[in-house]
Symmetry: C2
């Protein structure tokens, strides 16, 4: 009998208990082993829950119970989630989590502690909710060198951008609606400022490169400044605006950043709308593959958490290949000034952007210019400085 | 040192040699083990190939060499591919393959022989080319009960349907062009008649249900009768026509079949164009996830073959969970007459189809009717019989 403890009985924690219970018969049959939810840690009591008798308020009960071999950390936030994770791993318990904040900040240390103690630290649910992406990157693309990952990694912002495009409402209106529907938090900063996407892209980037970059160290721009004029310009050129987490591994250096981008309708990411997520992976042998699905939500996210629990149980008698990450240093990061891509500039009036090679279109009294050739960040910034107060907005094209 | 033999030096076989060679350094680093391509079996010699010295013409050299522990069967066709696979497994060698014909026909027996001999039989590349789909179904969705799989599983037919829609050329024109480009075989029957898709959907269906249905036992309709009028009707209603491999597991019984279907533009499969494949999986906890990528091609398919080889090497000292399939019996198959979905009927002139609840549109002198409610095969056939010679075509809606 494998005993599991769940830390945090919020949305994902209760979903995890539900998946483990609802699909218990088929999961145990697949595993040929039985499991049991022994404890659920929460500050609150849940007298009406079917799991009421599992609730404990003191983490030490779990930590000191040698029967518990798997801990599912679903608390969110850095502390005490990090501290409890570390203690559990050091006590010889494997830990699974959906907590991108902890993985992106403390992943190097926690993976190392897991290795030292012969246990596992898995985090499939930390990126892309229910979408299988982390295990496929490790196992299924193992014959490849991954060269680029770009993804729509945040459902809230994708919902907002989709509504702006399809309903013609502006950012603040759609945000208010998303908050009413429960798709956005009362304090939406982590989503709309791109912080959540930054945490996720550094995790994916580390899986591809072995180097974990601090999410705070990467260029991160959210969606708060996107206007309906920008949306109109995108449409005019056959693009749709998406918040893209991007990482490219080139000559051993990593370009990783988050920003809104013009996505051509020929790119499969352009078709991912609403709260869905999608991750497009480029690798040297397979070319491009995409993983698509629900990027959040109680049961989808719990489905990924439980897949990790199953992985741990299935491989308990076997030393599974551990995740080995290093902290990325300055050396590992490519100079962002050198990042090249095609660009769109929107300028006031009919003044063209001044680029020798670009297509221009008049949109609502402005001129939108799309460059034909890739342009570096440095050159783009120089051009914007030159355009000074005539420049309305600038976008990277995916 | 792990010794590998490749059977067949055609497109996928030579791609497999290339992936194993090109990415040798990173793969060996990931595995912490070294490997070597010891033999390549082919009837031909390849004096100019870098692998010329590996070529052998007699399978027994491989079979009798106890140093060879992994055989990659890339020959295609049923015989001798099946016979060589069986012999290799019985000799204690693991086998990986991209051969959907062998897997869909002999999979139950070959998986059983692998189990009995403590080796593995893996076939990630048999469905969806380079797209990770088989391992994700087994590992990543292990916390779920899979209820439905529908996919665009054949790149040739998807290329033809995309060209018919986008260029307005008819089936025979586009087929001829596809043959010229190498996307379709001189004898295109296996593709255009849906046989290839049927083999793939029974493999996916078996992964979800444990029961392998003979591809010959399922209803299979290809794309040869699709007209530009049908394409116009699809467009009128906001659909796109795709050849869909479909399996649904309901009350322990399986509905599996292949047919062209009207796919609403809101369905993510509608966006998969050209030679790409996509597989949409519905499962009871995660909801819907989709896997997208190149469904064929030398290096993408080889990438999946080599992922299986890596899986085998990584788990060599460990008894990996085997695949257990049974042959599906009549009992396991749901009565296809009872399969319910929404329908489109196209009738000559302005005669409506006669359904009480349907939307109709006039298209090029015909009337296209779309039912609001699901309708069984039986009822659809009865209606078609009643319409007799006025009925032009009938489609299932996805």
């Amino acid at each position: 009998m494998i005993n599991i403890a769940i830390l945090g009985f919020g949305v994902v924690g209760s979903g995890t208990a539900e998946v483990l219970t609802e699909n218990k018969a088929i999961i145990e049959e697949r595993l040929g082993k039985e499991y049991n939810i022994k404890y659920i840690l929460d500050l609150r009591d849940f007298p009406d829950s079917p799991f009421a008798d599992k609730i404990v308020h003191d983490f030490n009960i779990i930590l000191n119970d040698s029967e518990v071999s798997i801990v599912a950390e679903m608390m969110g936030g850095s502390h005490p989630a990090y501290d409890f994770t570390k203690a559990a791993l050091m006590a010889g318990k494997s830990v699974v989590t959906s907590n991108k904040e902890v993985v992106s900040t403390f992943g190097v240390e926690l993976c190392a502690i897991a290795r030292e103690h012969g246990v596992r630290y898995l985090f499939e649910a930390s990126v892309g909710g229910g979408i299988p992406i982390i295990r496929p990157l490790i196992n299924d693309l193992s014959s490849n060198k991954v060269t680029k990952i770009c993804g729509i990694l945040n459902g809230t912002t994708n919902y907002i951008l989709t509504s702006m495009r399809d309903k013609g409402s502006d950012f603040s209106e759609v945000l208010a609606e998303a908050q009413k529907l429960g798709y956005a938090e009362a304090n939406p900063s982590a989503d709309v400022d791109g912080i959540d996407a930054a945490r996720k892209i550094v995790i994916l980037s580390a899986l591809a490169s072995g180097k974990l970059i601090s999410p705070k160290a990467i260029y991160t721009k959210g969606i708060t400044e996107i206007t309906l004029e920008d949306v109109a310009c995108a449409k005019e050129f056959g693009y749709t605006i998406k918040l893209i987490g991007y990482t490219e591994i080139k000559d051993g250096k990593v370009f990783a950043f988050v920003s809104p981008r013009m996505v051509p309708l020929s790119n499969p990411l352009s078709t991912i709308d609403g709260v869905f997520n999608g991750v497009l992976v480029s690798a040297n042998m397979v070319g491009e593959v995409m993983f698509y699905g629900p990027g959040a939500g109680k049961l989808p996210t719990a489905s990924a958490v439980v897949a990790d629990i199953i992985d741990i149980i299935a491989n308990m008698d076997f030393e599974a290949k551990p995740i080995v990450w290093e902290e990325a240093t300055e050396e590992d990061l490519a100079d962002f000034e050198g990042y090249e891509c095609r660009r769109m500039f929107v300028v006031e009036g009919d003044v063209p952007c001044g680029m020798p090679e670009c297509k221009t279109k008049a949109v609502n009294g402005m001129t939108a210019c799309v460059t034909d050739a890739p342009m570096s960040e440095k050159d783009a910034n120089a051009l914007l400085a030159k355009l000074s107060d005539k420049a309305v907005s600038a976008y990277r094209i995916l």
